[in-house]
């Protein structure tokens, strides 16, 4: 059975464990695992650990590429300093069960970590990573990926996409990497029929209809231009007054990438580490002289919103938001980005 790109298959649900077992033998597999009523992407050794009854994970899978704590290199202290680079992570990894929005976030983060200075920590992992996505049959209340012309059943940013169409999974192969994965386990798959394809279309339509909260933006350019004009409006102060500066939104956002670099040492040796940081904290931009370009919550809240909806599109032609809704779900004071951006249409400069 030859595998062509964009060829469609089906995988009976009872064969899923068999397929996962085969994958585990070749890859380090990360899949959704339940812990304390929350879902995390953890490394699994057995398909029974996977829990597919979920909308999305608590911490976005960006944590697998852009680790929360990453050792950049080690060094010895004292008079004769030596640097020991960290060994690169060349293991083949696979994320099973990633949602289309989170997969899109990887494509968005790529812009940051590529560029003139290639980040070896992120890019090595990205190169060795395969994405097997799962469509969203039941988006949640704060999902709004469709506001960015995206679909809860899109295979655009994954290598293989599974969609639950009842007693089987509809399998779409997106690219060469996905093709090789399916090829190596081809016994388990059978070609999809038109009936199967129609069932997938039904799932897609149902998912679309479930998403009723929309961020009303005509297109990227219109939004960028509007935000340019209303930069100094008092609108931002009113939103920021509620903000606690807690930083939960930044840590749970799949496209947030701010980080801090620190040296951690003992007397004789140490390591330089990179850790996630949050632009919502006042110390984030605090100069040693005491000057702070973003001294108030208004400055920081506005900067975060502009970074995602104005600065990033200006630099990389894409909005740095995938519509996963985690920030809305977790904000303790109900600062709702769908509401915030939709209402910018009415804000006067």
């Amino acid at each position: 059975m030859k595998v062509n790109n964009m060829e469609k298959f089906v995988l009976p649900k009872e064969k899923l464990s068999e397929w996962i077992n085969k994958i585990i033998s070749t890859y380090q597999v990360f899949a959704p695992v339940k812990e304390e009523e929350l879902i995390f992407f953890k490394q699994i050794k057995n398909p029974s650990e996977i829990d597919l009854e979920f909308v999305n994970s608590a911490v976005p899978p960006k944590v697998l590429l852009f680790q929360q704590t990453e050792t950049l290199f080690k060094f010895t202290n004292g008079k004769n300093i030596q640097i020991t680079p960290t060994t690169s992570h060349n293991e083949k990894t696979l994320i099973f069960g990633i949602r289309p929005c989170d997969a899109k976030s990887f494509s968005i983060l790529d812009h940051v970590f590529k560029g003139d200075y290639k980040d070896p920590y992120y890019l090595t992992k990205r190169k060795n990573m395969l994405l097997v996505g799962i469509s969203c049959n039941q988006p949640a209340v704060n999902c709004f990926c469709t506001s960015f012309d995206d679909s809860p059943t899109s295979s655009k940013h994954v290598d293989v996409l599974l969609t639950d169409i009842g007693d089987k999974y509809y399998v779409e192969v997106q690219n060469e990497k996905g093709k090789q994965l399916v090829e190596s386990t081809k016994k388990l798959f059978t070609p999809a029929t038109e009936k199967d394809s129609n069932k997938k279309k039904d799932v897609e339509k149902k998912a679309f209809d479930t998403i009723t909260r929309h961020m009303n933006i005509k297109n990227v350019d219109t939004l960028v231009k509007k935000l340019d004009i209303i930069f100094d409006a008092p609108y931002w102060k009113n939103i920021a007054m509620k903000c606690l500066g807690c930083g939960a939104c930044t840590y749970l956002c799949p496209t947030c990438h701010c980080f801090d670099i620190q040296d951690e040492t003992t007397l004789t040796k140490g390591a330089r580490i990179r850790i996630w940081d949050s632009c919502m904290r006042p110390e984030y931009t605090l100069h040693a002289s005491g000057h702070n370009p973003r001294p108030g919550r208004m400055n920081r809240v506005r900067n975060r919103i502009y970074h995602k909806y104005n600065y990033y599109p200006k630099n990389h032609q894409v909005i740095a938001c995938v519509g996963c809704g985690r920030c809305i779900d977790n904000c303790p004071v109900n600062i709702d980005i769908i509401d915030v951006i939709t209402k910018t249409a009415e804000v006067k400069p």
Binding site: E36, A58, T69, N142, R213, N238, I275, S278, R297
Partner: protein, 327 residues
């Protein structure tokens, strides 16, 4: 529950005063059971004020978040008061801050709301997930009544209330300038049932329990920012010279962070539970705070946040304290 019309009237009167800058209350949220803080600068803004069993936030946190930008030449400092709507637990946080001289009594105006219990968002969202349209709730006897998608639901309060509300001893704000309604008496005393069960476990078991919880901590510090009593100008975790807690996220440093925060709240925590509500990783933070609260009650017969004239527990000593010296 409180008469919303009365709340709006009082808030409107308050905001209209010359010596009041703004009043913080609650307003309808953007979806489902959400409620959000409302900053009313004008009498018209107070029209949006609500009060319902969904008003979970502790608005006292905004006092210490107040930002004072540097004054321009000739500009005088704005010494107008800030008004706030508080429930029982919120008021205790305000009292605690007053005890510590973090705030001056004359700078705040407190609208007290005698509270009949607040719905735990986790419980209501588990029962009715994915609610897009905003939902109102009413109290009828021992039930909460919801109208969701045209259907009426009657749910016993016991099923939806916060655990802290079921054992609340101070539902009526202990401090207020305006009290909306008759004072409500507290229910049975706090028995620390859960804490006692945990205390009885073997050391290894306790360590295993907490390690599992702290492993999940992502050090977002939402707990710290949501807490009205965490208002250090430079938090211990941000200090670099010397650095007390490393920024690496691992079990060791996460444990240090959570335990240090619990200790910094010893004798100060008002039990509002905002830390646990804000935590995105469902870490049972209030268990830590309750344990210390229980110990302090037993050792010093002290309850935080009751009397603004009282000295903070750890800033004073009594001759009959258990230790022989103040060290």
């Amino acid at each position: 529950m409180v008469n919303e019309k009365q709340l709006k009237t009082e808030a409107k009167k308050l905001v209209a005063r010359d010596d009041v800058k703004y009043v913080i209350g609650y307003e309808k949220g953007t979806y489902g059971f959400q409620v959000t803080p409302c900053f009313a600068f004008t009498p018209e803004d107070t029209e949006r004020f609500i009060f319902s069993p969904l008003c979970v936030h502790n608005l006292a946190v905004y006092f210490m978040l107040e930002e004072k930008p540097p004054l321009r030449k000739g500009e005088k400092e704005d010494t107008r008061k800030i008004g706030v709507v508080v429930k029982g637990c919120d008021a205790r946080a305000v009292v605690q801050i007053l005890q510590e001289k973090g705030l001056k009594r004359e700078n705040i105006v407190i609208i007290g709301v005698p509270c009949t219990g607040i719905i735990d968002p986790k419980k209501i969202n588990a029962k009715f997930p994915h609610q897009v349209k905003t939902v109102d709730v009413k109290e009828e006897g021992n039930n909460f009544v919801f109208n969701i998608n045209g259907k009426t639901h009657n749910i016993p309060k016991e099923e939806l209330l916060f655990e802290k509300c079921k054992q609340c001893e101070y539902p009526t704000p202990v401090i207020s300038d305006i009290l909306l309604g008759e004072p409500i008496k507290g229910s049975k005393k706090e028995e620390y049932k859960e804490i006692k069960t945990l205390e009885k476990k073997a050391l290894q078991e306790k360590w295993k329990f907490w390690s599992k919880e702290f492993e999940r901590c992502i050090r977002c510090y939402a707990c710290r920012n949501a807490c009205p009593l965490c208002y250090c100008k430079e938090c211990i975790v941000d200090q670099l010279s010397p650095q007390w807690i490393q920024r690496s996220v691992n079990l060791s440093e996460n444990t240090v962070w959570n335990i240090i925060r619990a200790y910094h709240l010893a004798g100060r925590c008002s039990g509002c539970g905002e830390c646990e509500r804000a935590c995105p990783m469902n870490i049972p933070l209030t268990k830590l705070n309750k344990k210390i609260e229980k110990d302090i009650k037993e050792l010093f017969e002290y309850i935080a946040g009751l009397n603004p004239e009282e000295k903070p527990l750890l800033a004073m000593f009594k001759p009959n304290d258990t230790e022989e010296t103040i060290l």
